[in-house]
Symmetry: C2
Amino acid sequence: MSAGRALELSKQFKAIADPNRLRLVSLISSSPGSEACVCDLTEPLDLGQPTVSHHLKILVDAGILHREKRGVWAYYSVVPGALNTLAGVLSESCPTPEMRPA
Amino acid sequence: MSAGRALELSKQFKAIADPNRLRLVSLISSSPGSEACVCDLTEPLDLGQPTVSHHLKILVDAGILHREKRGVWAYYSVVPGALNTLAGVLSESCPTPEMRPA
DNA sequence: CACCGACATTGACAATCATCGATATCTTTC
DNA sequence: GAAAGATATCGATGATTGTCAATGTCGGTG
C-alpha cells in the first residue's frame, strides 16, 4: 500500500474511529428512511448540539455521510458504498480469506 | 449500538486509523508467511525503530496484531478474525445491504 | 419586520497522539 | 562474561482532537 493511499484511507478511518461518531452512523443507518436530523441525534448521544454538528461535519468531510437541507432541518444519510470500501480494505489484510486448510 | 460497544470498537478503529499503521498491517499480511519482524518494517515506512515498535504495540494492544518472539527477533502477524469483525461492523451500516429495489 | 427554532461556526481548553533521541532489556556469539 | 545486535521503554515536544459555551446564520411564522 502506497503512502498516499494509506493517508487517504486513514482520513476515513479516523472519521469513524470515535465512539460517538460510530453511534451516529449506526443511529442514522437504522433510522426510518435511513436518515436523521441533528435534533434526533443529540439526545441518544447525550451530547450538546454543537458537538453533534461538529461530528457530523467530520463524517461529511470524510465522504461517509451525506447532508441534505430540507426546510429548517438538515437530514444526514450514509453515502452508499463509502463504508463498503473501507470494509473491503480490512478484508484484504485478513488471514484465511480465500485460503482453505486442504 | 450501545455506548460501551462503540467505545470498544473505536479503540480498534483508532488503532488502524493511522497511515503508518495501515501500511504496517498491509505489509505484514503481504509478507511471506504473513509475518514480519521490526527490522523488515522500518525501511519501507521510513520511520525510526522506536516509532515502529510503538505503532506495533498499539496494534497488539488493540488485538489486531499478534507478537511472537523467536530468538532475537519479534515476529508480528495479523490476528485471524480481528479485521473481519471490524469489516462486519462497517457493512452493517451500509445502505442497500440485503435490500433490493423491488 | 420581529421572533423563534434548527443548525453551523468560532474560540478556548484539556487530553490524547505521533514522533524522535536516549536508554534499557534480552539474546546470541566470541 | 564481554560485545553486538534486535527490540522495547522512557521522556519530551509539537500537533491534533473532543468538548463546551457563546454566537452567528437562515428558514418559517405570526
